[in-house]
Amino acid sequence: MNQTIHEQLSALMDGELERDETRFLLKRLATEQDLPLRWARYHLVRQTLRRQALDRLPASFADGVMARLDAEAVVVQTPRGAWLRWGAGGAIAASVAVAALVLTRPTGDPLTPAGTVQPLRTAQQSAPINAATASATTSLSGEIRAPLLVPTTPIETAPVSFGSDFSPPPASDPHLQSYLIRHYQAAGATGQSAFVPYVLLATPQRDLPAAQPAESVPQNR
């Protein structure tokens, strides 16, 4: 029996022992005092045959190491790096989310109590556009869909597709606004694009300065 165990030990140090045999042998190593000593000697022979530099330690050295691990209750420390990375990532994401909430905090509908979630129209909720819905939408042409974010200051709208040369009119014409919105809704409902691409541009209501002449723009020379 001992011969078998010793042969298994020999195969183990060559990495040639089956997994089940390894498990069995490691259990035996805990109970048979001779096995760890034999394991150490086999390795001493290996290092000698391979002409590796070695200084032989007394047989009690390894016992001393293991006794110290027990006496000092040394534990294997789990790597904290991965957890730190995950934690740091989570903290950053949370910070960004909080900052975004604070900066873009919606005031909500004044008629809606705080904390009430307003139903939002999503792309999935939007029915496929057909002629019937198009006419229905057209019939609502006088209405403006409530924006998701209601600015606290009066806004005016301005098309943004004219390029940087376009200067918004200082005061919006309600008739023109109404026409543009109705046109946009009707065209959008039939799947066509409006002749004037139009988006709501939220700008505070204030006296806009007159467009500056091109000469006044500082130039880098």
Partner: protein, 197 residues
């Protein structure tokens, strides 16, 4: 499973709380590590203390060992750092030149720093060497060939079986019998050395 795979398997066992596996790693590398440490620390007693401290530190940190490098390379670096820290704590200056891990296992490379072995330790090493090589020389041919192909050439059992034209089980048995024969000669010598103060 190769030798480095075995180390990785033992490390994983340690990481899962199996202290016996760490005991095997200590017994496997203790002589090589203390030899490296002795290039930095002259006093043999201090060498042993530093070696012990190295293994304790390695045990603590083994949870972070992921197998990107070989276990010996990893613990070798711990040994070097521990030795240097020891020198600094003693008010001594550590050497500016390190021995590369590849060189550290060879006698020639290891002697690049300073030779710190005492005559007694050198005599002990020579006795071990003489006993091992003399026993191998006296082995029957099939055992000598098997142990040489395994330990010196580093062939796997399968490769040795092909080379010697015999089953893998026979290779395993021959290598074991060769080790037993060497161990039988070596054991009394080591036992005497352990008794020597």
């Amino acid at each position: 499973m190769g030798e480095s795979d075995l180390d990785q398997a033992l490390v994983e066992r340690v990481q899962n709380g199996d202290k016996r596996a760490f005991d095997l790693l200590v017994r496997k590398y203790q002589h090589k590590l203390v030899s490296v440490i002795s290039r930095y620390v002259n006093d043999w007693s201090e060498c042993q203390d530093v070696a012990q401290e190295t293994f304790v530190r390695a045990y603590r940190a083994i949870g972070s060992f992921r197998g990107d490098a070989q276990f010996y390379t990893w613990i070798y670096k711990i040994a070097i750092n521990t030795a240097k820290n020891h020198l600094v704590s003693q008010g001594r200056r550590p050497p500016t030149e390190d021995v590369a891990v590849e060189d550290a296992v060879l006698f020639d490379g290891a002697s690049r720093l300073h030779e710190s072995a005492t005559p007694e330790r050198e005599l002990m090493r020579q006795e071990i060497e003489r006993t091992v090589f003399a026993t191998v020389e006296a082995l029957p041919d099939e055992l000598k060939t098997a142990i040489t192909l395994r330990e010196v050439d580093g062939l796997s059992y399968e490769e040795i079986a092909e080379s010697m034209n015999c089953p893998i089980g026979t290779v395993r048995s021959r290598i074991f019998r060769a080790r037993e024969a060497i161990d039988e000669q070596l054991r009394p010598l080591l036992s005497d050395q352990d008794k020597t103060p």
